[in-house]
């Protein structure tokens, strides 16, 4: 049997949230790839097509949830990987806040873009 390796300490909140967001992302990331590469080809994407999809409340909500969970899962993964590599003290605090700000900027910009795509702001 192979040993089990992880960058996370099992049982803590960051570990738990990483698993919960993973379950959601497994389905939504696969759906995203299928829809935008196989059902609609990426090379044929137009603003009107994007707007038609984003105008549906369910799709819009799913994409916002996708943005938020993917940002959390990605940034939380990076943070834990760095802690696992020995990050601590002031550096750990600095990295944490840089990642928090980067996440907030990404979610804000992604949400703003989604509103433009849905035609809610123009």
């Amino acid at each position: 049997m192979a040993e089990h390796y992880s960058s996370f300490n099992r049982g803590n909140t960051r570990w738990f949230l990483q698993r919960i967001t993973a379950v959601f992302l497994i389905g939504v990331l696969a759906f995203h790839f299928m829809l935008l590469h196989f059902v609609n080809h990426a090379a044929e994407i137009t603003f009107l097509g994007t707007q038609a999809r984003m105008s549906q409340v369910g799709y819009f909500g799913t994409m916002i949830a996708f943005l938020v969970t993917a940002t959390f899962h990605g940034v939380n993964g990076v943070y834990n990987a760095l802690i696992n590599q020995g990050l601590e003290g002031t550096q750990k605090q600095a990295v944490k806040w840089v990642l928090v700000v980067a996440s907030l900027v990404l979610v804000a910009q992604g949400s703003r873009t989604a509103l433009y795509m849905a035609g809610i702001i123009a």
Binding site: M1, E3, G11, H41, A43, I45, F47, L48, G77
Partner: protein, 130 residues
């Protein structure tokens, strides 16, 4: 139940011949995770052209998709995403204590299945670019 192992220093890559399947799974999952989070920021940056108007958005997406290198990179992104998803499912089962005895085999299965899905997807991803 949680157990910890002394895995040594992963940065000492000269030890790579000693790495077990679990170590390779950890390295690949970490690498694909870094690629995906990097891509997420790039993806939102590109999609943000939607705030500059419909024409700018459509031309940007179509201009990028017309480049063969972008299509090749997209195949790479698919490979990274599929492996991260499949190995992620494996990790969830491992954390639930399911299939612990076969976790090396499930890692190999993740690799083989990722390869098969990517190879099968290549025609769709590169269609019209070459």
């Amino acid at each position: 139940m949680s157990q910890s192992y002394d895995r040594g220093t992963v940065e000492d890559f000269g030890r790579w011949k000693e790495f077990s399947a679990g170590m390779w799974a950890w390295i690949f999952h970490k690498f694909t995770g870094w690629v995906l989070v990097g891509y997420l920021f790039t993806h939102i940056a590109v999609l943000s052209t939607a705030t500059q108007g419909a024409t700018t958005y459509t031309q940007t997406i179509r201009g990028l998709e017309a480049l063969a290198i972008v299509r090749v990179l997209e195949v790479g992104l698919l490979a990274v995403a599929v492996f991260h998803i499949l190995n992620g499912v494996r990790l969830l089962f491992v954390d639930l204590g399911v299939g612990l005895e076969a976790q090396d085999k499930s890692f190999y299965a993740s690799l083989v299945l990722s390869g098969a899905i990517v190879v099968a997807s290549v025609p769709t991803f590169v269609s019209g670019a070459f």
